[in-house]
């Protein structure tokens, strides 16, 4: 990316400052807000009950949750791939797949299914593979129980397109990634931005398949993004 730039700022901000009837503050301390209801949500729940909340809400958002362990993950994953109509399968590049018990699926895969892994060094090629893949797969960085949401951070090798272009999507969800709601994820993102230059270029909060109610307000599941979504939760991870 090129050098950044800012244009048209001074006159623009001046008119705001004038309207507000004071000088631009040197530094604004974020106030201690008078209340914080978001911090109370599911605050006392342990990982097991957060998992139950996730499972129960996922039914509302047309998402199937399969629970297993890393030891059984390859089998459960194979069944999910079959149910979604087989390959090609596109993985994001993520060392955690091995820890999650999916090493047999990594190339050179022993499976007959066509398998690809995202490669940042070949963006064009990866994009075309994601475009023709039937299933995209990635590992959740955080998982929000309350809204049935997986959070994906665009770090090296974790293509945005993997969870977007294929017709179906599978998220591998380590049980330890479960937090009550968006509040905990927001806190972690704050920590990134306070640490300086390492903010992920894309943070996606994904809650099930794409959908639309633009025609007569009737819900259609599957529009531009994936049509079917599975979460495979690994209880021992």
């Amino acid at each position: 990316m090129t050098e950044g730039s800012i244009s048209g700022q001074d006159a623009f901000l001046d008119s705001i400052t004038k309207r507000l009837g004071r000088e631009t503050p040197e530094r604004v301390e974020r106030p201690a807000w008078s209340r914080s209801p978001q911090k109370q949500v599911l605050a006392e729940e342990d990982q097991e009950s957060l998992l139950q909340v996730l499972i129960s809400h996922s039914a509302n958002i047309h998402t199937e949750v399969l629970t297993t362990t890393s030891g059984e993950a390859a089998d459960v994953f194979s069944h999910a791939v079959d149910e979604l109509g087989g390959g090609p399968v596109m993985f994001s590049r993520d060392e955690r797949f091995e820890e999650c018990g999916l090493s047999t699926w990594m190339p050179p895969s022993s499976s007959k299914t066509e398998v690809h892994v995202w490669n940042d060094k070949d963006g064009e090629g990866s994009m075309q593979k994601a475009r023709t893949a039937n299933i995209g797969v990635s590992v959740a960085d955080m998982t929000l129980a309350d809204s049935g949401t997986i959070v994906l951070l665009r770090n090296e090798g974790r293509g945005r397109a993997v969870s977007l272009l294929p017709e179906n999507y599978i998220a591998i969800v380590p049980k330890s990634s479960l937090v009550p709601r968006m509040t905990q994820a927001a806190r972690r993102l704050r920590a990134f931005s306070e640490a300086g230059d390492t903010f992920p270029s894309c943070v996606n909060f994904i809650s099930g398949p794409s959908n639309s109610a633009d025609i007569e307000l009737r819900l259609v599941v599957g529009v531009h993004g994936p049509v079917r979504v599975f979460y495979i939760v690994l209880g021992d991870m």
């Binding site: 623009f12 809204s147 945005r160 007569e216």
Partner: protein
């Protein structure tokens, strides 16, 4: 398109709306469904008022320090390699966007939904350069194919169309041959638009909230088109109204929660996407990241009694409860921002000349104020507008004349009034449920009976009932 969507006079537009039976039914059903889902989700929270108070506090603090947070945001975007342009007017914004298109020698542009891009007439400006601009939000694409029919709701833009009309549009414009089922129509849009994303030189989106601390923009969506527009093309431009910003991700959490629940009754939409420029080359996502921050009259609202209108997060909760919107529909407001917030905001952004009737398009029932997740006192702002219209602009006479004329005629002819009153029970019962029933009333009654049942009268006029009651003999 600009903010104004019609050159017809207000009462002509209202007349069109009131006589559009399909639209009125669709709007009534949509209001009931959207409002119902919101109520379920907010009651389940148990402490909705706490959330509203917190959201109001966040929005007020941000507006009071807007210059500071915009500066912080712009610095963070630029530090990460992105480009920020501040535009006071639509012309300035469009000139910048046109320049980006020229620099990139762009032919094809794919767009996700953005109200502020409508506000500044961006599509037309890009088309002037010879670019093709494709709307990719399903509702917006339908409207674009249908010869740029204006939106009638800020969240569900094609609400006024039924699926058969949409099927017809797809058939006429794109050779569609399948049924009018929404699933098939949406599938067709997916297939038709997928190539557009891959062919596009530039992707353009709106911005629900910018995050000052990290220089990020966020997009709250369901269909996936905004993600495609910011994943596939090499250049992206986000256009944002200058008030759409939060200090940190912690405030984003709260406001996104309020937006999703209030707009569509979802805990979170399918996609909430935070985008931040990066200097690292990645395999997907934009190489060039532009943000255009637009004033277009907003700064004139700051520091005035109307400042709270800028707290708006564009959820449409006020629209979904408004009894006036229910009957006249979105196009009657003559603005891309309809409903109570539109009636407050449109005259502030564009002046009273073309929009002086809007503050009167309200019964002041305050349902909008109760529904607002960021506690904008909408009905009070409408009263302030009425005061300003009467006191400052001397335009009050027009509206009052219209209201008083109708009442004056009936009330001024007392014989007519009493005689008419006596006939009412007999005449009205002919059209009430159980006799001729729904859909059969004549003239003004027809507009009512077409979309719901007319209650049967009690067989006595209000005057007669009141007289009897005074004597102690009336029915209760």
């Amino acid at each position: 398109m600009g903010i104004k969507i019609s050159n017809d006079a207000f009462f002509e537009r209202v007349d069109d709306g009131i006589h559009n039976t399909f639209m009125r039914k669709a709007v009534a059903e949509a209001q009931d469904r959207l409002e119902g889902r919101k109520t379920v989700l907010t009651e389940e929270m148990g402490d909705w008022e706490e959330w509203r108070l917190l959201s109001e506090e966040i929005r007020q603090h941000t507006l009071d320090n807007l210059d500071y947070y915009l500066k912080q945001f712009a610095e963070n975007v630029a530090a990460r390699g992105g480009h920020v342009h501040f535009a006071s007017t639509p012309a300035e914004a469009n000139a910048y966007i046109q320049q980006v298109a020229r620099d990139k020698e762009a032919k094809k542009i794919v767009k996700a939904k953005s109200m502020v891009s409508e506000e500044i007439g961006m599509n037309e400006a890009l088309e002037e350069l010879g670019c093709t601009v494709t709307e990719s939000d399903l509702g917006e694409w339908i409207l674009q194919l249908d010869d740029h029919d204006p939106p009638s709701h800020i969240v569900v833009p094609a609400l006024h169309k039924n699926k058969e009309q949409i099927q017809q549009t797809f058939t006429d414009k794109r050779g569609y041959t399948e049924s009018s089922e929404p699933e098939q129509l949406a599938r067709f849009a997916r297939e038709q638009l997928r190539d557009e994303f891959f062919d596009a030189d530039i992707g353009i989106t709106g911005c629900n909230f910018a995050v000052a601390e990290s220089g990020s923009i966020s997009l709250v969506t369901n269909e996936g088109n905004a993600r495609l527009a910011t994943t596939v093309p090499k250049t992206t431009i986000a256009v944002m109204g200058m008030e759409r910003i939060v200090p940190t991700w912690e405030e984003l959490d709260v406001l996104v929660t309020m937006l999703c629940r209030s707009a569509v009754g979802q805990k979170l939409t399918s996609y909430v996407t935070g985008l931040t420029p990066t200097r690292e080359a990645e395999g997907d996502g934009p190489e060039d990241f532009h943000v255009v921050i637009i004033d277009n009259g907003r700064s004139n609202i700051l520091g005035t009694k109307y400042q709270s209108a800028l707290q708006c997060i564009r959820c449409a909760a006020c629209i979904n409860v408004c009894p006036v919107y229910r009957h006249v529909g979105g196009h009657s407001y003559g603005s891309i921002y309809p409903g109570p917030i539109g009636a407050v905001l449109t005259p502030l952004l564009e002046g009273y000349d073309d929009h002086k009737e809007l503050p009167y398009a309200s019964s002041l029932c305050a349902a909008c104020t109760d529904a607002c997740p960021v506690r904008i006192p909408l009905h009070e702002l409408l009263i302030e507008h009425r005061k300003d219209i009467v006191e400052k602009e001397k335009l009050g006479s027009t509206v009052e004349n219209i209201i008083m004329k109708g009442f004056g005629f009936g009330a001024g002819h007392s014989m007519l009034y009493r005689m008419g009153g006596k006939q009412v029970p007999f005449v009205m019962d002919q059209f009430a449920e159980g006799k001729n029933g729904r859909g059969s009333g004549p003239g003004p009654v027809k507009m009512w009976t077409e979309i719901r049942n007319l209650p049967k009268s009690r067989g006595e006029s209000f005057r007669k009932w009141f007289k009897n009651r005074e004597k102690g003999g009336g029915s209760s």
